[in-house]
Symmetry: none
Subunit: 213 residues, 4 copies
DNA sequence: GATGAATGAGCTTTCATTCAT
DNA sequence: GATGAATGAAAGCTCATTCAT
């Protein structure tokens, strides 16, 4: 390889990087950078300036798109959850039977942890360290998520597949809590795919038997 | 009530307070004050000086008993869990049947949240906001707690009351997660006794059916 | 003087102050303020906030230009010494004869103490109270200063005016030590011009005879 | 060696240590410990509790013998200087000739640095870091020390060996400064015996020629 | 919209000193 | 005299946020 072509390649690579960078909105670039930085350093140890550097924008620019540091975390949560809910709905839609829907739901929840480790760290660990998120955030999206479960349960009850005395409003939280704790353990101990698969099976077995008519 | 008796009562009250204060070690007084202050203001918004004032000791005195602010939280967690584990063991000991043990366990876990609201706030919300706790703490006591559940499950499997293909190491976490999420919701929304009772019943029903042979 | 003209003068003075303030870089303003404050209160008794106030910048701004409090002292030392060395070189350059150069050097060293009393206090007293300066600082500039003396001595030896058995590396320190002690005494007892003049004469007489061939 | 005699030896050693410890007054033990600790850690980084531990006394005991931390340093300085002055007087007394006395003085000053490295570190570096010492201390002992030099010079002038136009009050400081700077350099760079010997010779040669009639 | 220099509030922790025993 | 548990004042530095350009 001669010097000429090396230089040419470098120019091409730079141009490609720039196109890629320009293709995304600054908003998205900041969110993606925040996920990386939060996952790497933790929420409280991440500096706005680091996120800005990672996103190749100025510190002040972040405040054109986000109210403050906690807001990045919360919007990140909402954005991700919105996408996840959409994906889950699509996945669930492939089944008619409520119990089979729940099975898909459980498997997919834990599969997401496996496939998005950075996001999982942020949602499982860092998010809960924001006082604003824990105390002030109106958890609309989170409630949407929980209600996905409640809906399936009610559907199952209508179908006669799930016991009528099961309280969807409570069981939705119990199931979420179970999945969440498994996800947290997976993230903190870096136990990955196998652990999550086995756990998904165990939880399916237990919950479905637990609420089946 | 006349002024005289008021003054007398005040004297008596002061004396009682002093006796109470002297009766406890400074260590215990600091821990109890920390629970109150953390529950009231949140971990990050609590000042060491507030805890010291509440415990009626000097700021510096706290550092004779604790390494730092996070250490207070962690020791508070360990102390509480140690007591809780002892109480749970005693409670469980009253039954021979594994499934009945689990039932007692579940009911008591949520009953503790009801009976110690301040402690519950700290353990459910504030504790998780300490980066040191989430990332550096070796969760020995927590594992002890989880293993209480695993033990009962293994016992039930030996008795033939619980399915042999249930994985105690996973189900213990799933059950804890479910209870924890219900506890968190109770704490954040200030839903108390009734919510916790109903939830305990629902979780018992679901889990016990879910793992029964 | 009437009130009218007083007010006018004040306006003029303020304007002048502002021009003066804007003309210098923040870096220089902070250094100059530090000299004043350190001289007035001593290094350990000076607060960063005082230096900031004197320089009319925010506390945090200081940390955009300096690593920490000790760094201000060290940079102050280096900046001053750099200027002093340049001036001394110019002064020395006016003579050809090594002994006459030394004479100029000695007189000028003590004259600087007389002309910059604040800086002298800082360099003689406060600088030595910084642990970082005494133990961690790599004294490049100071060595440059000492080597000015060594160079002149070597020159004198080449010229045959100074004994060949004089060790420049030791005598440079002995001469500096002598001047430094006189300077310190002048600063601590506020003995000024006359004391310094007489001392310069005495030291010249003694050193030059002491090393002359 | 059998176990029996080992135990016996240990008892004897302990007893000897205790006797040694008791033989010195607490005052002396604290001063000696302070020299060690200050030399090891520096004045500002030494804790009263460390000095107390080293001296095997309680923290509070130190305040029965010393006003405060700076007082330890100052009393340490005075104690040492008193001893040094006595030794120097004895040494000087061995000569009649003023110039020979000065020679002995210079050599002994630098020899003391060589022989008491810990003390030298404290007197050369740490002492100057005490604001109280630099600004409030009435330097009686130090003046005694300087006057030793002045006396010899006056003696030499009376003998006709030293020029009459030499100002003893200035030259004493110049000589001290020269010796002090060499001592400091030796301490900071850990250049020991050889450096100090050569320096002593150079300074003798220069000073004695410099002031000789 | 984008920048980044400047701001300044905010707080844990240390450790010399005291004093009841 | 000796102890050592308790005190509490004291301040450097960080970093989220602003705003003039």
């Amino acid at each position: 390889m001669n010097v000429h072509s090396e230089a040419e390649e470098w120019v091409v690579a730079r141009a490609a990087a720039k196109i890629h960078r320009d293709a995304k909105t600054k908003y998205d670039r900041i969110l993606e950078s925040a996920i990386k930085v939060f996952a790497r350093k933790g929420f409280h140890n991440s500096r706005i300036s680091e996120i800005a550097a990672e996103a190749e924008v100025a510190d002040g620019t972040i405040y054109l798109y986000f109210k403050n540091k906690d807001d990045i975390l919360i919007r990140l949560f909402e954005n991700s959850l919105e996408q996840i809910i959409a994906d889950l709905r699509a996945e669930i839609g492939k089944e008619n039977d409520a119990l089979r829907k729940l099975r898909r739901f459980i498997k997919m929840h834990l599969d997401l942890v496996n496939k998005n480790p950075n996001l999982a760290v942020v949602l499982q660990v860092e998010l809960r360290q924001s006082n604003k998120f824990m105390k002030e955030y109106e958890p609309t999206r989170f409630i949407d998520y929980l209600n996905l479960i409640a809906e399936i349960i009610r559907e199952g009850q209508a179908q006669g597949a799930i016991r009528a005395d099961v309280a969807p409003g409570i069981v939705k939280r119990a199931l979420f809590g179970a999945l969440d704790e498994i996800a947290l353990h997976s993230v903190l101990t870096r136990k990955g795919k196998d652990y999550l698969r086995t756990s998904a099976d165990q939880i399916c077995e237990m919950f479905l038997r637990g609420i089946a008519a």
